[in-house]
């Protein structure tokens, strides 16, 4: 049976929630030409029907709570239930951004302390919690770079250098900040090719955007030399910290020479992803760049926390209000529940889990770079040696075995890539089960390749023709 849309279940006159009746109709208050005349085509359902409808929809999802979700670069680690509950305490959810500051000191104190803890973890001089997501953090960071160069009259700096391993958001971000993107090829070992970078650096370079650890799961081993090269050229080093889970407690970006970076509270700091957001992408800056961060920041004046400090050199505002607070509260809970030693253990276990999966799959699904990895391993397959089976087929077949699929076809430099990030919260038993499923799929590729080609077999729908959706877009009822 097809899953009906709410509008297909709708029956005229059915009602969920009711409100009090007004004394007078809208015509008593508004002129006719401003009044709505049509009835919007929204579903008409009882509350019970609505509850059933959305409960059913929730069951058509794989989720971290239900399944192993080894989505590379996404850090699908357990999201503690306590943080959901505590971030939803009514005094937090009811706090209005324009309430007198004396009425929101609890929220402000948390935000201030979170800023301070992120500074300590990264070694950077200042942190803003304003950005709403990772890509928003990138844009914030690159506009911070831009404000820095503008203040130093570096108007000729119009380029941002991005390695070909970068997330698509990096080049898109640089473009959105008005910069020209200079893409550079990585070295055969998956890291930045210093000679290529040197070639690309010039007095036109505003910044270099590096993901550390990078998207092939490797730490940029020459990071300090790279930073020195970037600085010598008069540019700034931007670090995409989406993969910071592998470094937390193990190393501080400020020590590498990073000038600006973002973190993802919805990855490294255990806030849930919500099916695609809200996230939170705090941005940190070294002392010389900090004055250019977006305004305001939470400051502490005596015993009082305030957002009213002056930031005359700030780039401006990135978002209407100061960040995705409900997500920031969860990040704060995480950092209060785990001390420095535990964070270090978390990073180590994330690295151990990724390497364990990599080692166990060797010989069947090999890592593209045959070295120890950090938080994720990037596997690659050769369809010509696997009965024409592609990465997408393996990914869909994994769904049949009850596992969400790894990130596929990324990074672009790895052919038929499968990026596996187990995270530290998965047990050895779960990793063994996942490896076991991939081993079975490997056997199937040779014994019954059609089975793999045709996967998935037990999902709510079978393989979707994605192109069919784009041809004649149907985007609403």
């Amino acid at each position: 049976m097809e899953n009906l849309l709410s509008i297909e279940k709708s029956r005229s006159g059915r009602r969920g929630v009711r409100f009090e009746k007004t004394k007078q109709p809208a015509t008593a208050y508004l002129p006719d030409d401003l009044l709505r005349t049509d009835k919007p085509r929204l579903p008409e359902m009882s509350e019970f029907d609505t509850v059933r409808h959305f409960t059913r929809l929730s069951q058509l999802n794989y989720s971290l709570d239900g399944q192993f979700y080894p989505l590379g670069s996404c850090t699908m680690k357990y999201n503690p239930k306590a943080y959901d509950k505590l971030s939803a305490l009514e005094p937090f959810t009811r706090a209005h951004p324009f309430a007198p500051e004396s009425a929101v000191q609890g929220t402000l104190q948390i935000l201030y302390e979170l800023q301070e803890m992120l500074k300590e973890i990264t070694g950077l001089a200042a942190f803003t919690l304003q950005p709403a997501a990772g890509a928003h953090g990138e844009l914030t960071g690159i506009l911070t770079v831009r404000a820095y160069h503008d203040a130093h009259k570096n108007n000729m700096r119009t380029e941002v250098i991005v390695p070909d391993t970068a997330h698509g958001t990096n080049p898109a971000t640089a473009n959105m900040a008005g910069y020209t993107v200079v893409n550079i090829k990585s070295a055969p070992d998956g890291c930045v090719d210093k000679a290529v970078l040197q070639e690309a650096l010039s007095d036109r370079t505003a910044a270099v955007m590096l993901t550390v650890p990078n998207t092939v799961g490797l730490f940029e081993k020459d990071i300090r030399e790279i930073a020195a090269m970037v600085h010598k050229a008069g540019a700034l080093l931007y670090m995409d910290g989406a993969n910071f889970n592998a470094l937390i407690g193990l190393a501080k970006p400020a020590d590498f020479g990073v000038d600006v970076m973002h973190l993802n509270l919805h990855k490294t700091f255990a806030a849930p992803h919500g099916g695609g957001g809200p996230g939170s992408g705090p941005v940190g800056a070294a002392a010389h760049v900090a004055p250019f961060l977006p305004k305001p920041l939470v400051e502490k004046k005596g015993d009082v926390y305030t957002l009213r400090g002056k930031m005359p050199q700030s780039l401006g505002k990135m978002k209407a209000f100061y960040g995705n607070i409900a997500v920031a509260l969860r990040g704060y809970c995480y950092l209060r529940q785990f001390d420095a030693g535990t964070l270090k253990n978390i990073a180590e276990k994330a690295i151990l889990n990724a390497n364990y999966v990599r080692a166990k799959l060797q010989g069947k699904f090999n890592a593209f770079f045959d070295v120890n990895c950090m938080h994720e391993c990037v596997l690659s397959i050769d369809p010509s040696k696997m009965n024409g089976v592609h990465t997408a087929d393996v990914a869909k077949r994994l769904l049949d075995y009850g596992f969400y699929a790894p990130t596929i076809y990324f990074p672009l430099i790895v052919p038929e890539a499968m990026m596996v990030e187990p995270t530290e919260t998965e047990s050895k038993e779960m990793l063994d089960a996942f490896v076991g499923a991939l081993e079975k799929i490997y056997e199937e590729i040779f014994s019954n390749p059609q089975l793999v080609h045709d996967a998935p077999h037990n999902q709510p729908v079978s393989r979707i023709d994605e192109v069919s959706a784009a041809r004649q877009p149907n985007l609403k009822w």
Partner: protein, 441 residues
Amino acid sequence: MFTPHTTQDEKEMLAAVGVSSVKELLSQIPAELLYPALHLPAALTEQRLTAHMQSLSAKNKPLTSFIGAGMYEHFIPAAVPALSGRGEFLTAYTPYQAEASQGTLQTIYEFQSCICALFQMDVATASHYDGATALAEAVLAAKRITGRAEVIISSLLYPHYKEVLQTYTHHMGVKLVEACPTDAGILDIPALEKQISAATACVVVAQPNFLGYLEQVTAISRLAHEKGALLVAQVNPISLGVVSAPGSYGADFAVAEGQPLGNPISFGGPGLGIMTAKKAYLRQLPGRMVGVAKDKNGKRAFVLTLQAREQHIRREKAASNICSNEALCALNAVIYLTLLGPEGLKEVAELNLERAHQLAARISRVPGFSVNTAAPFFNEFVVTCPVPAAQVIDKLAEEGIAAGYDLGQTCETMKNALLVCATEMRTEEDIAAYTRALEEI
């Protein structure tokens, strides 16, 4: 501990990897960078953490709020958080594997459908960060579409939206020009007519505007279109239960802060950026969209579609860099709209209208206070006080009331002006208490 590894597990796993310690796996990190000193607070148990967070939450004072200015307190039916809080929704990622994410995908499709119905627009995206960034992205799209660089914005946009717009556009060759208001608190139409020209990419209007008043949007739309400019409308979604929808007056893009639809205020975030457009601009829209597809057996299925606009495909040529959005807030909104239906939405909008007008009428009877009622308003309006608004706010805070938004912070000449909002949450008793407190000033 957060990690499940037993000592035995760790031993076996290290052996499988072929190393004797995790440190050996870190050989790519220069040794002198490894294991820096890290000074963080001592770890709290869940029980201690709970007490700690409760005590911090108690530092926030509960005020009966008459503040709006972009974030509005509305009733959230219990079913909304109960459903959206289900782990199957909450802990899923972006629905990249469509076959295993049909639930999330269908909710987004239903969200887009409800929003299009409410706004009378052709297409809606899956969501943006908030109303301000949605507005900025719409303006950037208008520039790309028209090839024109000048953008006329209502001076009565929320000031914080103007700031975000400035940040997003000033490196992109956009010139922002403000259109001025009349004393009634709405745009001056004859003056606006003179400003719009063949160089104008779009006119940005807020309905209701920052001061709460409803603009003559039909006239503004006509003026923009006469000169080949687009109309970008920023609206309050709850108001659309009674106020004419942006599609009905020809908006090319309509954006909104969707927080009022079933999402708490949470000190301003997460918000819910709503972005809608006419069909013609579909391929200029930034951000995710869900469409209907077929699976290989011909069964209806939902997928992320038109991804060729997006950063992971187009990289620096993408319409925007947006990746994560506010999916869970959009889920709250679609559950809210499904529970209310067309009648419920009309009821709640009417209730806002009535409570705000009751409040305005009562305030206007308080000696020394006057209310601007020269233009129609929805749930927010301007009060001129006999003393600086900041004083009124301080005084009422002592009575447990958040009096409103001090307009003096945006404009020196409005020092005594207070922006006051009443949603359906404010009872007649709350309104009476508010005016009693004003009488003591």
